[in-house]
Symmetry: C2
């Protein structure tokens, strides 16, 4: 079963229905390795289902985010892009030019976090790590 099919199935389990506009949005977000904002999703979705409305894009994004199938990505030029969610403890490496995204593991912040907790008295519950750069294709 493809990723899009699996996402649609998860929507169905929650009482959701599989419709053509929803399928268009799901396929784009499941299959694209770039952070896309709602307007970009809309533009791409219209190629698969021209009658789709922007509002439906927003609503589908909202549902997918609630199911933790996609997540919001924070960038210099705004925080309105979405990307397939991380699986487990992963972070993301983003191309600043084209938005291409790669997940990675292997950051080791345990010692830093432990020592900061001791020094500051904070209880640290979460960390965000994002790397930015240029993907091979954008290095001209």
């Amino acid at each position: 079963m493809s990723l899009s099919e699996s996402w649609l199935a998860q929507l169905q389990v929650e009482g959701g229905r599989v419709t053509a506009p929803r399928r268009a949005v799901v396929e784009i977000l499941a299959e694209t390795d770039r952070a896309l904002n709602p307007a970009e999703v809309y533009e791409l979705a219209r190629r698969r289902h021209p009658a789709i409305g922007l509002v439906t894009v927003y609503r589908t994004i909202e549902r997918l985010e609630a199911l933790r199938l996609i997540e919001r990505i924070h960038q210099h030029d705004g925080c309105h892009a979405f990307l397939r969610a991380a699986q487990g403890h992963e972070h993301v490496l983003l191309c600043e030019r084209c938005g291409r995204a790669l997940r990675f593991v292997g950051d080791d912040l345990e010692d830093l976090i432990r020592s900061l907790q001791e020094r500051t008295g904070f209880i640290i519950r979460e960390h965000w790590l994002q790397l930015f750069g240029l993907c091979p294709a954008c290095q001209t």
Copy 2:
């Protein structure tokens, strides 16, 4: 010279003028150790200069950000808060409840970044690291 005075001096060097509303915003952002959004800055600034308008808050934030004296902070509940800028290579530890912010150094991502560059072909130019938790006062 206090930090606020230094910021106002930097605005003057750029041809800016020192006014009462601007001074109110500058003092709040220079002296507060919490990430504040424009509405919060406005509310605090009104205590020092009741006639100030929200638009002036936005304009002053814009100027301070351009001078790299403050920077935008990304959080779960939005990305509209501002904080005194990092000095050199620092990251930030934020209290999820009250927004209190602490800068820290000592993250060591060199090896990870080098190995990711080799494995992925990306050129990595920047990294964002933020820690979230509860400050001592908010641990109830």
